[in-house]
Subunit: 222 residues, 2 copies
């Protein structure tokens, strides 16, 4: 059976990727990271999602934080949604590069054919490492920088959500029965989602766009 | 003062990079990794080298090993030098990609302008992640995938040894007074270098080529 490593954060997008990879016939190997996030809620959700998919192994990697972001530095507040196109303070330096590098090492060890990453350039245009230009550049690193790549059996970086809006992602995921009730998206990580951070606002807009009710609880809906 | 992150393994090449970066006027920030190596000798050497250069900080990152290499898996023996062009079993999946990714995150947090990596495509042609094609591809990832890159102030990946033979590297390093007496290159990591593994053989050939005596001790010289 062909194998795929799936970057699993415990959020909506990565959970959708789990469902897509399964639907495409891959044996799925999720990988999650503890990188000094503000909270462990994401990781708890990732574990529940992995379990729901009955995976053979769920790799959890502890990364030392380098600081420099509101998501990893408790001295920087998570801002409320502004909706501009600036790179937000929640940007974590080189995060997706690091995640993909780990997933790549793991994929080589497993002999996997693909890596799934749930980035989208549509709703998150503020993050440079969520754009197709970045994914294309990383694919080239895989082709040139790994044993698999230079032997002509490169590992494919798949980003099936990259051109989808949040609403389209949700429609796709619901069709594949992605367990969204187990996910979290809130940057603040309290028991109920805040409903006010960038991530909550985008999630809620997505469900609205898809015409579906979000099954998780919110403290406040704007 | 402009800053550079230098990947420092404690070996000859990375120590040469420290000397080059200093000579080019950078304030140097070495970064080293514990990644489940067979021995800690490298890291001890890296610490001594960093100290010798009087650096402001020496970042040491513990990486969880993914296995799959003779250098990280104690169940795989380190082979003797064969001199062929196959990818050796000492290849660590995605190692340089992972190292560069961490260095990149660190460089962004520091506001550094460059990252030095001491790879050479001449003597180590067996490793895909030591070739100019790989470094070029990674540069593109930096340009497209980081805040610094998309703002047009990208971080430069510098690999000043990439076209040098080991002998040329040593000549260059000696000219810049690189403290080679503090370095190690042996894969086996005993007190004296084995003199028989790929890495020892290449080092010894390099010193011979440069017409200089290596100041570290060997158990055996072939």
């Amino acid at each position: 059976m062909k194998k795929a490593v799936v970057l699993l954060s415990g959020g909506l997008d990565s959970t959708t990727c789990m469902a897509i990879a399964k639907d495409e016939g891959y044996e799925i190997y999720p990988i999650s990271f503890e990188y000094g996030q503000r909270h462990n809620r994401e990781l708890e959700c990732a574990k529940k999602v992995a379990k729901k998919f009955n995976v053979r192994a769920h790799k959890i990697i502890r990364l030392e934080s380098l600081g420099g972001s509101a998501l990893t530095d408790m001295n920087i507040d998570v801002p409320k949604y502004k909706g501009d196109n600036e790179i937000p303070i929640t940007y974590v330096p080189a995060r997706n590069i690091l995640f993909l590098s780990y997933a790549l090492g793991y994929a080589e060890v497993l002999g996997a054919e693909a890596i799934f990453i749930g980035v989208s350039a549509v709703d998150y245009s503020g993050y440079p490492d969520c754009r197709p230009e970045f994914i294309g550049a990383f694919q080239k690193v895989v082709d040139e920088g790994t044993a698999a790549g230079v032997k002509g059996k490169s590992i494919e970086i798949k980003s099936p959500l990259i051109h989808l809006t949040k609403g389209e992602t949700i429609e796709l995921g619901i069709g594949l029965r992605a367990p969204y009730e187990l996910t979290t998206s809130c940057y603040n990580g309290e028991e109920k989602a805040c409903g006010e951070c960038d991530s909550c606002v985008l999630r809620l807009k997505g469900f609205e766009e898809a015409g579906i009710k979000d099954s998780i609880e919110y403290k406040k809906i704007l």
